[in-house]
């Protein structure tokens, strides 16, 4: 049996009268890429935000690397967060800073006494990995959407995380750039030995990057398994329509 890096049990979360997650169970095993699918507003972003303590659940347990996130004090939570790379849906590059400063930000704040040479080496290293070394002195506003996604991913890689959480890495990109990002996700998984959760609407992305799929339906995971299992033999109508619709497009 593989090690579980994330274990979610009976997770519930509501906002006011809106029940978003209604008892979610989910495991992420070491080294795998798990794709989470689900329609807009189904609570995918909420789920991974709970995993890093940006939101707190109402009920249920979320264990990341063996630790119950809700019970960590702020110091322990910060230590845990450094082991998790979080790629935001809105990318969230600091727009008052250059690409270099964006990448340095997590470094200078968390690695005490790091020298300039070490810093430059790490920054250039991750930029090489995402293939954007030429943008090092540009501002985020000068980059294209796809480039920004890559820089966002690079920023999370700089502290060498054990877990990567990607929130819609390919949303709003053209199909070719999507493929590039998909390859980058796979490459990161191999190079950095991460376990990843990839949230997406995009079935091509899911198929290319995912070892396993989980479909969030009405606040619980309705279907889980390998791509073919979940989609080709889909019995739940909404999962089937999700599939059909994606490929008609």
């Amino acid at each position: 049996m593989q090690n579980k890096v994330i274990e979610v049990r009976g997770l519930k979360k509501s906002f006011g009268d809106l029940d978003v997650l209604k008892g979610v169970d989910l495991d992420l095993f070491e080294g795998e890429n798990l794709v989470v699918l689900g329609k807009s507003g189904s609570g995918k972003s909420v789920l991974i935000k709970i995993m890093v303590g940006l939101l707190t659940q109402d009920e249920g347990s979320v264990k990341v690397l063996g630790q119950e996130v809700k019970q960590l004090n702020s110091k322990a939570l910060n230590e845990l967060r450094l082991k998790i790379g979080f790629s935001f849906q809105a990318i969230a590059l600091y727009d008052s800073m250059t690409v270099r400063e964006n990448l340095e930000f997590p470094l200078v704040r968390n690695v005490k006494g790091i020298s300039k040479a070490e810093k430059d080496k790490l920054v250039e290293g991750v930029l090489e990995s995402v293939g954007l070394i030429q943008t090092i002195n540009q501002m985020p506003s000068e980059l294209s959407g796809g480039q920004r996604k890559r820089i966002g991913i690079a920023r999370t890689l700089i502290l060498k995380p054990e877990i990567m959480l990607y929130d819609e890495p390919t949303a709003g990109l053209d199909p070719i750039t999507c493929m590039d990002i998909n390859q980058l996700i796979n490459q990161v998984n191999e190079e950095y030995n991460t376990s990843s959760i990839i949230i997406t609407h995009d079935l091509t992305c899911a198929k290319v990057t995912g070892d396993r799929m989980a479909v969030l339906l009405d606040g619980v995971f309705g279907a889980q398994g390998e791509f073919e299992e979940v989609f080709q033999h889909a019995t739940i109508p909404s999962v089937k329509s999700f599939y059909d619709y994606n490929f008609i497009q």
Binding site: G16, D17, L54, N78, I84, A90, Y94, N110
Partner: protein, 265 residues
């Protein structure tokens, strides 16, 4: 979505409720500032950067308005004094008016417009584009990095700007007096400093500290609590200015009462 299911409350009741909810959350925000400001990590670099931004960005506008206020106020006061043949009192009158009231007020109102709106918009846009969340997940306390540094910067810088405005306004007044009453610079400034007391200067600076704090904290609060979307950012910037200006006038009124009390001692 969520709102549709809630039974509609009467407009007035909801407004009153929202007012108190807002008040409570503003109180918690200010409380959090006073809790976090004392403990490390201190964001010195960011503080210096913010001081520079606040001071430097407001300088041109404040120079212009300060100067014009000095000239106009002198010109408008002259006829009333001339009626009593008392135009020689102009420097003293201007000095008191500028140092006690106009310098701090003009500076604070302009800074509320310039600094308050830019803090509100900057933090608001960082909030809606998840940059604040991004800071948090890279184990940086965004409240300290963004809010504490900005509030401190504006608290320190507004008094500095007020002194500068006082100076520029008095220079404007001097030029006007010099042309009309042929008073020399040294005579003018001797009269200016004779007219004001230690209490005037210290109360003016203390008041400016409070104005600076108000501008910073209101801008940050509105930005930090702005709602999703670009419209939310605009609203945050706008209401930061309106709220800060409103509070500045209230504080001015309170400061007047307090200094009057001390004057009577």
């Amino acid at each position: 979505m969520a709102n549709n299911t809630v039974a509609p409350k009467s407009g007035l009741r909801r407004r009153i409720e929202n007012f108190f909810i807002g008040l409570a959350s503003a109180y918690r925000f200010v409380e959090r500032f006073f809790k976090e400001v004392w403990f490390p990590p201190y964001e010195f670099k960011e503080l210096i950067r913010q001081c520079y931004q606040i001071g430097y960005n407001s300088l041109p506008l404040i120079s212009l308005t300060g100067f014009i206020v000095g000239v106009v106020f002198t010109n408008q006061s002259r006829p009333s004094l001339a009626e009593f043949g008392a135009t020689s009192w102009l420097p003293a009158l201007i000095s008191i008016a500028v140092v006690r009231a106009m310098g701090p007020l003009v500076t604070a109102l302009i800074a509320a417009g310039k600094v308050g709106s830019s803090i509100g918009a900057e933090i608001g846009s960082m909030k809606v584009t998840e940059q604040i969340d991004a800071m948090e997940v890279s184990a940086t306390n965004p409240f300290k990095f963004l809010v504490v540094s900005r509030v401190l910067a504006s608290t320190f810088m507004i008094p500095v700007l007020v002194m500068y405005t006082d100076f520029v306004a008095l220079m404007g007044a001097f030029l006007n007096v010099n042309q009309n009453e042929l008073v020399s610079m040294s005579t003018f400034f001797v009269q200016v400093f004779d007219a004001i007391s230690f209490l005037d200067i210290s109360s003016s600076l203390l008041k400016s500290l409070v104005f600076g704090f108000t501008i910073g904290i209101v801008g940050c609060y509105k930005g930090y609590n702005s709602t999703k979307g670009t419209e939310g950012v605009g609203k945050a910037a706008n209401s930061a200015v309106v709220m800060a200006m409103f509070l500045i006038f209230i504080e001015e009124l309170l400061a007047l009462q307090i200094t009057n009390f001390f004057r009577q001692l």
